[in-house]
Amino acid sequence: MTKVTVAKEDAATSDELVVLKSVNKHFGALHVLQDIDLTIARGEVVVVIGPSGSGKSTLCRTINRLETIDSGTIAIDGKPLPHEGRELARLRADVGMVFQSFNLFAHKTVLDNVMLGQVKVRKADKKQAEEKARALLDRVGVGAQADKYPAQLSGGQQQRVAIARALAMGPKVMLFDEPTSALDPEMINEVLEVMQQLAREGMTMIVVTHEMGFARSAANRVVFMADGRIVEQSSPDQFFSNPRSDRAKDFLSKILHH
């Protein structure tokens, strides 16, 4: 296994939105995040890729502190992650998260799913929250489903609702953890299109995905993880056509030859 020193991002970028410095995390004896340094600029779209168990989900989850870290620092928009309480809740509202398994609130309608955070966290007026929710649902193409319950929607529709729910908070950055892995093939594109549109509109995004089409067309940078480390990062073209590390070559040969 070769370890490749990662080329530092342009030092001149003052517009750093997400900054991780020497982040370490263990699950018991397992060192799942090892000295992670990662900086994401405002408006940047970063795809995180790597073998199963390499720590991609854990990385995502530490960024809004669904997982705590053992050492190192994580800062969002210049502010270090708060530890608990109100401050942390406010920060989480600024960081949108989309999960592999959608995780819509099953007892609430689609519309209520998208309104809940606006009303309860942002303390928005109900009427305005509903307007915004409906507009977002239209934008992700599920406006007609607003009054249904999540179980009545297809996976692709549910995931688009989940994206709308996250967007409703007006997040500074969106995290996607394998948003299309639980979807039937014919539904993958409808979700990727929504994400692509978001990327074009300038949303800062961290996306764990193995969808190379998306990485090539939407990502500014690909980060390759293996065994809890960032092994390599470069532009999508560079990464997919000419990976430097053996781990990446090995990994790509496995996912490409399927």
Binding site: L66, R92, A93, G96, F99, N103, F105, H107, V121, A166
Partner: protein, 221 residues
């Protein structure tokens, strides 16, 4: 054949049973929910308290708890729950005892309900910035209650029958009346049948109605 009933206030006794049941049900629903919240909460001290409470209380016979309320709380410590009238005070102590006891079972029914809610939903709720209490109150508990209607119905039916233990400290509910009638009358079988019928009149509709409610509110997944 039913003439002897004129001497007894059967309806009054069952009305006391109903009151014991309803007041204890409300009390244990509230306290049981709080216990469940403690048991799934992030504070270790509260989790420990909730766990200890449930494991201790549900292993003590109800009779012991009710007797403790009368003998320990009232006679020894002088806590009569705001009434000097013996009957009223014993009624209130019974409600307290029944609530203390039943909430352990309510807690477990709700905790089982909480376990039917996928963890991912609680994470998604945290991820949009809801606080622990909001996650619990807005996302987890509403679904937990719906899933717990069945188990809670069983708890309620058990509670209805458990109110008979209040007879041990002289609360004039159905079982005490039965004891009185059995002592004074000859129609033992008939008396038993009447009391049994009375309880069925309370519990059967409870089961049917809540069974229907449970289906109605079930969360589709």
């Amino acid at each position: 054949m039913f003439d002897f009933l004129d001497k007894y206030d059967v309806l009054g006794a069952f009305w006391t049973t109903v009151q014991l049941t309803l007041l204890s049900a409300v009390g244990s629903l509230i306290w049981g929910t709080l216990l469940a919240a403690m048991r799934v909460g992030p504070v270790p001290l509260m989790r420990g308290f909730g766990t200890a409470y449930v494991n201790i209380v549900r292993n003590i016979p109800l009779t012991v708890i009710i007797l403790f309320a009368a003998l320990g709380l009232k006679d020894t410590l002088g806590i009569s729950l705001g009434s000097d009238v013996v009957d009223t005070s014993n009624f209130r102590l019974s409600v307290l005892g029944l609530t203390v006891y039943t909430s352990a079972f309510v807690c477990e029914a709700i905790r089982a309900g909480i376990n039917t809610v996928p963890v991912g939903q609680a994470e998604a709720a945290r991820a949009i910035g809801l606080s622990f209490t909001q996650v619990l109150g807005l996302v987890v508990l509403p679904q937990a209650f719906r899933a717990a209607v069945g188990p809670l119905t069983n708890v309620l039916i058990a509670l209805t029958k458990n109110t008979t233990v209040a007879a041990a400290i002289g609360v004039a509910e159905a079982a005490l009346l039965m004891k009185e009638m059995v002592e004074n009358e000859a129609q033992l079988l008939l008396i038993s049948a009447i009391i049994a019928f009375g309880f069925c009149c309370l519990t059967l509709p409870t089961g049917l109605i809540l069974g229907w409610v449970g289906k109605k509110v079930a969360v589709k997944r």
